[in-house]
Structure formats: structure tokens, C-alpha cells
């Protein structure tokens, strides 16, 4: 018995050390390879690790010895704390490798800020109303065969913002002269106006996002509601059928929940085409899984006393669920559902980026056209809606279940 334990301890200690050194040498090799282009056979790492393991086992100063061997600890204090330094070494190595893999570059971070200047100025100066000519629309005008000197003048006011149409035209008149302006007024205004309808477009895209999040939540409720009863341990009978139903639903819900909504959006945008419907389906699938889990946990938390009491009156199983379970879960269910809607609005934005429609899609388009002032407007709108939803859902939750 004693002997067996000793052997097991020894094997555990050796295995731990071996893994430790393979990791250390693997990391070191990665760094050397990256910095100096040094290459070696992988068996080389194995041999080095094996050697290190043997050496450190012999001097009894390894992590494996510290963790698993109950006797034969080193006497000298230097060796006693050696394992600590080894762990420190592994942390340092891990950190350095991490910096390299993530391509952390502080130089870029501090010197290339002007690259973000466009978006920064967009955020501080979002286009809400007013007129402006973007590089894009000037390009279009160029294609419309406006004379080069007019185009050059227009380039001089590229991205400049005018609060009203009148101010815009006044400035154009000053720059182009009365007659030139009259000649090209309608063409220029057409291009300029395209750019200024954004607030309307943004608001309708925002509505699209909110509604697609709402519909995704609403459609998810009945599925999650029914499933949650079968995924509640305390309601499912402990027969083999009950156990299987419980396990299958729980497992599928867990798997579906761990697949991000953005992945579902990619799948559905191929399936039903890019647009809000794909986004809704993506959020719905994710919500069904998430709500099933939340709902069934609520059911598992109910007071079983009333369930017993109602059962004792001669009520059927379904009647017991309706009278003893449902009254106990309506408020937490409502609270969690609104919370879910709140999450869905947030996720709907992200989902839009990959073809889910709504304001996310618009944001992506504007970003690719480099219309930073429009991007700024969209960011503010999203932030505002998320803030409002967050507040409302927190209030409702507080009222309903006091969390």
C-alpha cells in the first residue's frame, strides 16, 4: 500500500516536471526561432526537457517534487525554494511569448495615434444635420464630368460641415461665383444631400436593430419556456426517460449557448441572405439556449412546498405546474426576458457587422467608406440606446425580483 503510493507519487512528479520543461523549452525555442531564425528538430526540445527533468529530480528542487513527493525533500534552503523560482521563470517566459504572439507594439500605440484621428474627429464632431461633401461624393461629381477647377474648389471644402442648406450655398457661391454655382447647383446638391440623409437612415437602422432584438427575444420565449420545464431537475421524474430528456436538453442548450451569436449570424446570413432576418434568427437561437438555462434555473429554485400542497389536493401534473410552479416564476422570467432583450440589442449591433442588418451593417458600410463623421453619429446613437436599455432593464429587474 505504502509502496504503491510512493511509485504513484514518483510518476506524478516526473510527469509534471517533464511537461513543465517541455513547455519552457518549447517557449524558448519559439522565441529563438522568431528572433534569430534558429531552427532545430523538435526531438531536440524533448531531449533537453528530459535532461532538465533528470537534473532537477536529482537535486530534488523541482516543482514535481514539491507538489507530489511526500518525503525526500531537499535539506538545503536554496533548493527548498527553487520551485518558486521555476514558477517565476515559467511566468516570465509565458508573458514574453504572449507579447510576441499578440504582436504587442508599444511604439505603434504611441506614435501612430494620428491614424485614429479620423474616427476621433468623427466621434467629437458627429454629422447630425447639415451639409457636407465627402471625398466619396466629390469623386462621384468628378465622374459626372464637372470641370477640374470646380472639383478643385470643392476639394478645398471636403468634409467641411455646414449647418443649413443656405449656409452651404452661400459659401459655394463665394467660392465658385454666382454663374458657375447656378450651372452645377443641382448636381452638387444631389451629391451633398446623399450624405446628409444619414440621420434618417441611422434612425431607421436603429429601429431595425431594436426590433430585430425584440423579435428575437419574443420568438425565443415560447421555445425556452417549454424547454425549461423539461430542463429543470426538480420537475423531471428520475426515471431513465426523465434523465435522458433532461440531459439532452441541457447539453444542447449549453452547446448552442457557447456558440457566439456572431457565428450564428454568419451561418444564417448565408442561409437566408444578409439582412435583419438573418440577424434575428442568430439572436433567437442564442436566446433560446440562454433563456432555457436561466428559466430552468429559476424553476429549480422554486419553493417545493406549494407544489407538494397542490399535488396533495388531487391536481394533475399539468395543473400542478400551472398553479404551483408558474405563479412562482412569472416575475423572474419577465425580469430575465427583459434583461435578454437588453443583451440582444447590444449583440444585434455586432451581429449587423457580419450580415445581420440594422445599425451594425450601416456602421460597417460607413466605416469602409471612411465617413468618420457618420461613424461618429452612429457610435453615439448606439451608445445612447444601449445606455437607455441598460437603465430600463435594471429598473424593471429591480422592481420584479429585487436584484
Amino acid at each position: 500500500m505504502k509502496k504503491k503510493n510512493r511509485t504513484l507519487e514518483f510518476i506524478q512528479a516526473i510527469a509534471t516536471d517533464l511537461l513543465f520543461w517541455i513547455y519552457i523549452f518549447g517557449c524558448l525555442y519559439y522565441l529563438m526561432h522568431k528572433w534569430t531564425g534558429f531552427t532545430a528538430k523538435l526531438t531536440f526540445i524533448g531531449i533537453a526537457a528530459l535532461l532538465a527533468t533528470i537534473i532537477f529530480q536529482l537535486i530534488r528542487g523541482s516543482i514535481g517534487v514539491k507538489l507530489f513527493l511526500s518525503s525526500g525533500k531537499p535539506k538545503r534552503s536554496v533548493l527548498k525554494s527553487l520551485w518558486g523560482y521555476l514558477i517565476l521563470l515559467s511566468l516570465v517566459v509565458t508573458f514574453v511569448v504572449g507579447l510576441n504572439i499578440v504582436e504587442v507594439d508599444f511604439y505603434k500605440f504611441f506614435t501612430k495615434f494620428q491614424n485614429a484621428g479620423g474616427i476621433a474627429s468623427g466621434i467629437f464632431d458627429p454629422s447630425v444635420t447639415g451639409y457636407s461633401l465627402s471625398a466619396e461624393s466629390i469623386n462621384e461629381l468628378e465622374k459626372d464630368d464637372l470641370p477640374p477647377d470646380v472639383i478643385n474648389t470643392l476639394k478645398g471644402i471636403q468634409n467641411r460641415k455646414y449647418s443649413t442648406r443656405k449656409v452651404f450655398l452661400n459659401d459655394l457661391q463665394k467660392r465658385l461665383g454666382e454663374s458657375t454655382l447656378q450651372e452645377y447647383k443641382s448636381t452638387i446638391l444631389k451629391s451633398a444631400e446623399k450624405n446628409t440623409k444619414l440621420l434618417n437612415i441611422a434612425l431607421s437602422a436603429l429601429a431595425e436593430t431594436i426590433f430585430l432584438a425584440l423579435l428575437a427575444t419574443v420568438f425565443a420565449i415560447p421555445f425556452a419556456f417549454v424547454l425549461s420545464f423539461f430542463a429543470a431537475r426538480n420537475l423531471m421524474p428520475r426515471t431513465w426517460l426523465g434523465n435522458i430528456v433532461y440531459l439532452v436538453i441541457r447539453t444542447i442548450a449549453t452547446i448552442f449557448r457557447s456558440i457566439e451569436a456572431i457565428v450564428w449570424a454568419i451561418i444564417f446570413s448565408v442561409w437566408v441572405g444578409i439582412g435583419p432576418f438573418a440577424g434575428m434568427l442568430a439572436l433567437m437561437v442564442h436566446s433560446v439556449a440562454a433563456l432555457t438555462k436561466l428559466y430552468s434555473e429559476q424553476i429549480e429554485n422554486i419553493d417545493t412546498g406549494p407544489v407538494e400542497a397542490i399535488k396533495a389536493t388531487g391536481a394533475s401534473t399539468l395543473q400542478t405546474w400551472i398553479y404551483a410552479v408558474i405563479p412562482q416564476i412569472v416575475s423572474p422570467f419577465l425580469a430575465f426576458t427583459i434583461y435578454r432583450w437588453d443583451i440582444n440589442v447590444r449583440m444585434a449591433t455586432i451581429v449587423g457587422f457580419v450580415g445581420g442588418g440594422g445599425i451594425g451593417l450601416l456602421l460597417l458600410q460607413q466605416q469602409q467608406l471612411l465617413r468618420w463623421h457618420n461613424v461618429g453619429l452612429l457610435i453615439w446613437l448606439i451608445a445612447f440606446v444601449v445606455w437607455v436599455m441598460d437603465m430600463v432593464s435594471a429598473r424593471v429587474r429591480e422592481k420584479l425580483i429585487g436584484i
Binding site: D303, G305, K311, G314, A315, S316
Partner: protein, 255 residues
């Protein structure tokens, strides 16, 4: 008088292996007010719950009102249950629902699934529920949520709920254990009244001997899943008390 309950060699062994009932034999006559005594863990709750199959007995025979409870399944079991009212220590009301709805839920064994799904009870049932609330002196609280009632009031709502079933028998599992002495006595008084006026047979587990003497017509004591005493309340002297509760026990009076 005829037997309304007959238990023969009733055993209950829980999944973990606890042998909670070790061959209980018991005959209860119609109209008795039977008090179950016994230490915590002696098997009182298990016994009461086995009798309406809230817990599945391991072996033995149960006959209630000439029905074989053991073999009953589905609809028949529910029909048996609807004539057995049950009162619990924790009242077990639906705290979010009104007192009236709680009382009405006692009728569930009688109404169709459709009526219960739509929460549409017969007018007649509502009137009966109101009169039952009146019997326990709570008609003015009909619309109050159960959570806003005091413990004693909640237990009286639970009694009204049991009355809704037209019960032949009421099982009360430590109905006054979470109540103060004065309230406890008033709740027992309502049970005693049902026993006398409506001829409802009552099985009630208690911890206070004084209440047992005051209301019980018969006392049965359990110890480790066996019946160790069966007689009238008067027969319990100091020695019998010590047999039931152990040598160190002192009788606590409650008036």
C-alpha cells in the same frame, strides 16, 4: 364506528438507505382526532406523506375510505387524494396569489384541465371558497396576497384550502410548529371544530403534549419508525413521555 384508515406493515426505505418506517400497523376510526407524537426524524412526516403517496412507500398496505391507495394510479390516485386535505408546517401557500385563489386551488382535483388552464373557476366554487374563508374568519382578506398575511392567517387559509376539497380526512404535519403559542391554539381550535362539526377525521403531528391533551382523542407515538405508544392522551404519564422523547426530556407546557 368503522375504520377509515387501515395501514398494514408499512415500510419506507429512502434511497440513501434510511429505514424511516419499520412496519407500521394502524387503524383509524372515522371521526378520531389522532395526534402523532415523536422526536424529529422519528418518521411522522414520512408516515403522513406515504398515506397519500406524496412519498412512495416501499412495501405494505394502505386502505383509506375503502380504497386501496397502494395500487391506485393516475386518475384514481387523484380521486383518492382529493378527499384528503393536507396542512403543512410551512403553510405551503402560493405567496404571490390572493388568499381566495389559494383557497380555490383546493378544488383543482375536481375541475377540468381547461378550467384550470384558463383560471376560470365556476361562480359556485368562488362562493364556496368565500364561505370557507369565512369559516376561518378571513373573508375580509380574500383579495390580499398570501405573503402579506401573518403566519396564523396563512395557516387558516391553508385550512380553508383543505376544506375546499370536501375532505373526509385531514393530515396535518406539525401545523403549529412555526406559530406562537396563542396562534397555535387558535389554529388547533379550527381543526377541532372541523373534527366535531364536519366529522372530518384528523391526523395531526405535534410536539406539545398540552395541545395533544386538549384536542386529541387518541395519541400514537413513533420512535425510529416504530409505533411505541397507542392510547388516549390521559394515559401519557411521565414514564411514557420519557419512553417517547428520551430520558432527558422535560415536558414543556403550552396553554
Amino acid at each position: 364506528m368503522k375504520n377509515i384508515i387501515k395501514l398494514t406493515d408499512l415500510h419506507k426505505i429512502y434511497e440513501g438507505g434510511t429505514h424511516a418506517l419499520k412496519g407500521v400497523n394502524l387503524e383509524v376510526k372515522e371521526g378520531e382526532f389522532l395526534i402523532l407524537l415523536g422526536l424529529s426524524g422519528s418518521g411522522k412526516s414520512t408516515l403522513l406523506r406515504c398515506m397519500n403517496r406524496l412519498i412512495e412507500p416501499t412495501s405494505g398496505e394502505i386502505e383509506i375510505d375503502e380504497e386501496n391507495v397502494i395500487t391506485a394510479k393516475g386518475k384514481r390516485l387523484r380521486k383518492i387524494r382529493r378527499h384528503i386535505g393536507m396542512i403543512f408546517q410551512q403553510f405551503n401557500l402560493l405567496k404571490n396569489l390572493s388568499a381566495l385563489t389559494n383557497v380555490l386551488s383546493g378544488k383543482l382535483g375536481y375541475v377540468s384541465l381547461w378550467h384550470s388552464v384558463t383560471f376560470s373557476m365556476h361562480k359556485n366554487d368562488v362562493a364556496i371558497a368565500m364561505s370557507n374563508l369565512q369559516r376561518v374568519g378571513l373573508e375580509q382578506f380574500a383579495k390580499n396576497k398570501a405573503r402579506n398575511l401573518s403566519g396564523g392567517q396563512q395557516q387558516r387559509v391553508a385550512i380553508a384550502r383543505a376544506l375546499m376539497q370536501n375532505p373526509r380526512v385531514i393530515f396535518a404535519d406539525e401545523p403549529v410548529a412555526s406559530l406562537d403559542p396563542a396562534t397555535a391554539d387558535s389554529v388547533m381550535r379550527y381543526l377541532g371544530e372541523l373534527n366535531k362539526n364536519d366529522n372530518i377525521t384528523i391526523l395531526c403531528s405535534l410536539h406539545f403534549l398540552s395541545l395533544a391533551r386538549k384536542y386529541g382523542t387518541r395519541v400514537v407515538a413513533l420512535k425510529d419508525g416504530n409505533i411505541v405508544f397507542d392510547g388516549t392522551p390521559k394515559e401519557i404519564d411521565e414514564q411514557k413521555f420519557k419512553d417517547i422523547y428520551g430520558e432527558d426530556a422535560e415536558e414543556v407546557e403550552i396553554r
